[in-house]
Amino acid sequence: MADTTISATFDVYRFDPAVDRSARYQRYTLDLAPHTPVLTALLRIRAEVDPTLSLRYSCRSAICGSCAMQVNSKSRLACETQIGPEIARHGRIVVEPMHNQPVLRDLVVDQTPFWREYERVEPHLKLDPARPMPADRPTSMTPEQVERFKETPRCIACAACYSSCPAVEADPEFPGPMALAKLYRYVVDPRDTATRERLVGIQAGGLWLCLRCHLCTDACPKDVRPSERIRDLKELAIAAQGATEPGSRHAVGFKESIRGAGLLNEMQLVRRTYGPLGLFGQLGQGLRIWRKKPEVVRRPHRIEKVEEIEKIYAALDTGSEAPK
């Protein structure tokens, strides 16, 4: 009914590099029904108020992945984000382009870095030419094999995860959550024959820069859960190749360091991760901390019943971390 509209204020990021020296926010106020998607509102602004507003979209049904943007500081699909709850929570709707990609104009970003990382993981089946797939019948998988794909095939490549990822922001070597989730999908595909090369490549190719902050999993509109698949890749990489990088050495070192006493041995861990020489490099910092916190050099006490920990390790940690 017409009387159920609300007055919605939009503060939209505007930037045209051809004329603007810096970005600005332009305010638009419209009367809209609370269930109106942010995308629909932006398209109305463009049709009725300001034809110069640039944005990207296609399906308007949360399928194509082109309309991701920052809505009130969160990476969202504009076509499935309703204005009602946003107004209720924030009083207005701030619309900005996605992070971690250069702005081309207004809400349109240059997705080149995102797609470059995607291509870098070679997201296609690599088959053994000696054993081609049968041409006359479909190949089949067991339910257990299918289950290993988990959520990754749902990805619509919207880059909401990429936009939210602090490792992408801080380090150009990090491939980003979506590329790694895609890589996982091929690593567990029983038809793919490059499993080991893929894992060896990514172990040295930025895998361990993931902060496991789960911002990507929270941002993803399709519940692909990239952070959890990145965890899977880490364990698979260690199993395939052993711990060859500082990150994997640290994970394995940590696991070993609580085995003896049941609690973390900070000094032993630093030594394991950095090696004796690297430990030397940390001495200055260690001394600074030690002056205030002398416990850093103490061995932790042993927990009671520590033998239970040893037995759990014996049952579940069959060990594959030495470099192969």
Binding site: L209, L211, C213, I303, I312, A315
Partner: protein, 296 residues
């Protein structure tokens, strides 16, 4: 109010001031902490990276210890909170459960899945309640602008961590609410729910330090005199490694960083020594000097 107290590794060693402050605050608020010397490390996220099922098993053992005593479990670390909660979730998967049970049953350990894992922050806000805390404040932290820093694993994945606001996209605010209850001025900034960089401190130090530096700069540029965190790993990064973060971002930061119960303790009348404040690498005195005397 009674909990199985899970201090975690850091609060028993280099982060002892967190344990001190927790005990002080719990005593003052009538929260009974029951200790279990057989609790092990939670794996800190690193064991999970190396071996997921092993990580679930050592935490199921911890949870079983609390379950046998009929207690819910109280953590004081965002990462411990995350790992123990994760174990509860993963144990719901029959395949994981079968493997974990296979390792625990021969030791006479069984975890039935009944323990609720909760963090001190949530206990203060949801169980003790802000009105009860407000009533006990003796020295309101008036005038002190504090940037809360939650720590990833307390919050995310939101659907598994039982996020504030029912995971419907609402931003967390319990920490800021608590800060307001003890008289401080909470500062809202983007970095408050971001990562401190700790997980890759050993992977690529320069990147980790830059991430930490950015969060501190963010809090500072929003006017924070101090930061506060419910996670001792964030505390290591933000306090003990702040000198490195300064180098990484090329700016002086001078940002005092409190453990959550230290600020609560100060407001309830504890002395800086009782809360272990002299153990911090970045001096906390400049922040304390900002507190307006009561009645002013």
């Amino acid at each position: 109010m009674k909990f199985a107290y899970y201090p975690g590794c850091v609060a028993q060693e280099s982060g002892k001031e967190l344990d001190l402050a927790t005990r002080w605050v719990c005593r003052a608020l009538g929260i009974e902490l029951v200790e279990f010397p057989s609790f092990s490390c939670c794996g800190s996220g690193f064991v999970d990276e190396a071996n997921e099922v092993l990580n679930v098993a050592i935490n199921a053992r911890n949870l079983a210890i609390a379950e046998r005593a009929g207690l819910n479990l109280l953590t004081i670390c965002s990462t411990c909170q995350g790992m123990l909660t994760l174990a509860n979730h993963r144990m719901a998967d029959p395949k994981v459960r079968a493997r974990v049970d296979g390792a625990l049953k021969p030791l006479g350990i069984e975890y039935r899945g009944t323990v609720r894992v909760t963090h001190l922050l949530r206990v203060l806000v949801e169980e003790v309640g802000l009105p009860a805390i407000r009533a006990k404040v003796r020295r309101p932290l008036a005038g002190l602008k504090v940037g809360a820093f939650y720590g990833c694993h307390l919050l995310r994945p939101t659907d598994e961590m039982g996020g504030e606001g029912g995971g419907d996209g609402e931003e967390p605010h319990s920490f800021e609410d608590l800060l307001a209850a003890i008289g401080a001025d909470p500062v809202y900034y983007r970095g408050r729910v971001m990562c401190c960089g700790f997980p890759i401190q050993f992977v690529k130090e320069a990147t980790a330090n830059r991430i930490a530096g950015h969060q501190i700069q963010d809090a500072k540029s929003h006017g924070a005199d101090a930061m506060a965190t419910p996670c001792p790993l964030c505390h290591i990064t933000l306090d003990a490694y702040q000198n490195k973060a300064e180098k990484a971002v090329g700016a002086r930061l001078d940002m005092p960083v409190f453990h959550l119960p230290q600020l609560v303790g100060l407001a309830l009348g504890a002395t800086p020594e009782e809360l272990g404040l002299p153990r911090h690498l970045v001096p906390t005195e400049p922040a304390l000097a900002r507190v307006r005397p009561s009645g002013a």
